[in-house]
Symmetry: none
Subunit: 415 residues, 2 copies
């Protein structure tokens, strides 16, 4: 089955946003055994969109659009789809009710044009949107035996709708040939090329399962994808290959599939029944925010202090004034006293101290932008780390947060 | 002049890489006054690539391809371009020499297939690659008066080649195409459709400048795009339209172009010479982290406490124990004492308190997941807000952060 992805939206043609929906859909559809042979982007223009969809229907069996389902005048994807397949639009009561409920539950007054989103091509399957107001649409062209699927543009709405409704629909309608299963080994601490060197012979020799390296904000993901008659067989193929490559990169693997660094850290803290508090300077609360992204993190996180000023470091974290005076606010000793101080003040098992220069200002002789000190104090004693991160201010913050979480993970593994 | 961008490479169809070349070229071409109306991605397959290029030539004057200029058998873009325009390929000595030099200078031994990169369509303009081995190609179809430009796939090679050779070529060949200038008014607090209702008549009536609404993580961006003979004229058109729509939505506009909410808050704090501290519970430090994303934020942010446990709320923020006992940790009174407490303990002009239920657990009778209280205490007195946010845990955190920053912005405007 040949698929064409059609991304709609003038902002794409102006280069104002990067299209992440197309690669997401392409990857998932390939895993399901469909061939995505074309991807097209077109603006919110009826004539051009109609021509693009016509061309797509000529060369593909399934056309999946993204974007243009919103309430505004510029949202025309459903209408153009209906026009192309000679179907009229009708007002879908259930969708209207759901949209009204959506606003009512959020205590937001709804303006009338939101109900445009309840206008549907006749005979279309309506797909519920669990993350937003715009329903998706599946229109089957019985005569040509082809299908157009309209999905919303916001990536989280699109991905949720694809997983909950579209993938099951496609599987049922076309019956996936055998099973395609993927497993992701999330690694941190080794560069992409260094990682590739270690497992190169498997990347080159493997055709099933396949091995792919994907760099994802500071992490490198090793994706193992196996195709087999049954899911069990596919999983067995994955287990075999994983058993071969794990010994080569095991120390860098922190999580599996969607297990984030903060999630794996949280699991370790729970397993070892330890509590934690943080004193963050240059990261400004980012590390604590990531830790609290994990449901149930209140069971091990007591709290944190963002000690941006030296006064707060001294008064509310307990860093001795003379250490800041003699060593400087950005120093190994300051990071260590931050870790020790927050641990004692917040009565936790573990304390973390982070201080550095996020930039662009603040660099001094011998202390460049990107210099960061991370310290951990806890049952396994006190440890400290020095890093030089590059990139802009937010890059440095994010790299520091990831490094701090990984240091904590490795610290917990020694307990 | 109508342009179509054709990105080649099977990795795009597999969703293994995100296409950043298309948005880069689209943005630059629009700035030069060209209209990019279509973007297509196709794999390394002769027949399909030829058909895609044929379709592109039918609907565009200029077709710019990216990728497929490398040394491997899979790199076929130049050959397919030549075949489509009925041109033969020949061996271009100068390019061959340049490629040999490239490897020699880098002390890398060159494999023969690298010389495939010196095969060129007859009559083509050869464009030097200053960052890699693959030259670019400009093929003019005299009869049809159309052009195909082949650019390399690696983004840094493509962008360098576009700036040094392609942009000048296009400017010279087509003269100044005039300019397209965009200005974005970033708004918060009014839904996309409600916002559209207010400026609908301008959206519908305007063809130049055009008005577009874009939803961006909780913000709505109003994009004004003007086309004119010169940048100055385009800017004037924007100023005129902005003057007409501003009165209708002014209270919701918080920033221009890339001015984030935290940046505009920071500017207000600096302008009014006020300092701030935060007590965050359900947001776990996210608001403080966003505030510290702004360079120089240490001039107004003293610090913050992430008070996840009630003990921290009492001991380190100064919330009276009985308030938590009688009103609950998630209550207007607790938020207000958090704001007041952190302001007093951290000796700042303004204190902010945020408490709520991020979920998925923690909901109680009358206090659903997504219930959030935000309080501000400062020179203009103490104010509190109640919100019901939807979405998962991180959605609630992000919506709360945005709301808190906007409440602070509006509070500062009253001072």
């Amino acid at each position: 089955m040949i698929v064409e992805l059609v991304s709609t939206g003038t902002e794409l043609l102006l280069g104002q946003i990067i299209n992440t929906n197309a690669p997401f859909l392409a990857a998932r559809l390939n895993e399901l055994g469909f061939s995505v042979l074309y991807q097209t982007s077109v603006g919110d223009n009826r004539e051009r969109m109609k021509n693009v969809l016509r061309t797509a229907l000529e060369r593909a069996d399934i056309v999946i659009t993204s974007g243009g389902l919103g309430p505004t005048q510029g949202d025309i994807t459903k209408e153009v789809t209906a026009a192309l397949l000679n179907k009229s639009m009708y007002f879908h009561e259930d969708s209207a009710e759901r949209i009204k409920r959506y606003f009512a539950e959020r205590r937001i007054c709804m303006s009338d044009n939101n109900l445009r989103q309840a206008m549907m091509p006749e005979g279309a399957k309506i797909v519920e949107n669990t993350c937003g107001t715009a329903p998706g649409v599946i229109v089957e062209d019985q005569t040509a035996g082809k299908i157009i699927i309209n999905l919303p543009g916001p990536p989280h709405e699109l991905s949720a709708m694809f997983e909950t409704s579209i993938a099951p629909y496609l599987k049922e309608k076309y019956g996936v040939q055998g099973a395609i299963v993927s497993k992701v080994l999330r690694t941190y601490g080794l560069g992409e090329s260094a990682l590739e060197e270690r497992i190169k012979k498997y990347i080159l020799s493997q055709s099933n399962p396949t091995l792919a390296l994907l760099a994802r904000n500071g992490e490198i993901h090793v994706r193992i994808t196996a195709r087999a008659a049954s899911e069990t067989d596919a999983l067995q193929l994955i287990v075999n290959l994983e058993g071969q490559i794990r010994p080569l990169i095991n120390e860098y693997i922190f999580g599996i599939d969607d297990e984030t660094m903060e999630k794996s850290v949280g699991s370790l803290l729970l397993a070892k029944d330890l509590t934690i508090a943080l004193a963050e300077s240059c990261t400004g609360g980012l590390v604590t925010s990531r830790i609290t992204d994990v449901p149930g993190s209140s069971r091990y996180l007591t709290g944190a202090v963002v000690c941006y000023s030296n006064e707060i470091k001294v008064t509310h974290v307990g860093v001795p004034e003379n250490i800041i005076a003699t060593e400087g606010a950005v120093s190994p000793k300051t990071a260590e006293s931050m870790a020790q101080g927050i641990k004692e003040k917040y009565f936790t098992d573990i304390g973390i101290g982070i201080t550095g220069i996020a930039g662009p200002d603040g660099a001094t002789a011998g202390k460049p932008v990107g210099l960061v000190y991370i310290a951990i104090d806890g049952p396994a004693g006190r440890v400290g780390y020095q890093h030089y991160f590059n990139g802009n201010r937010t890059d440095v913050k994010h790299r520091t947060a990831l490094a701090a979480l990984n240091h904590l993970r490795q610290y917990l593994l020694t307990i």
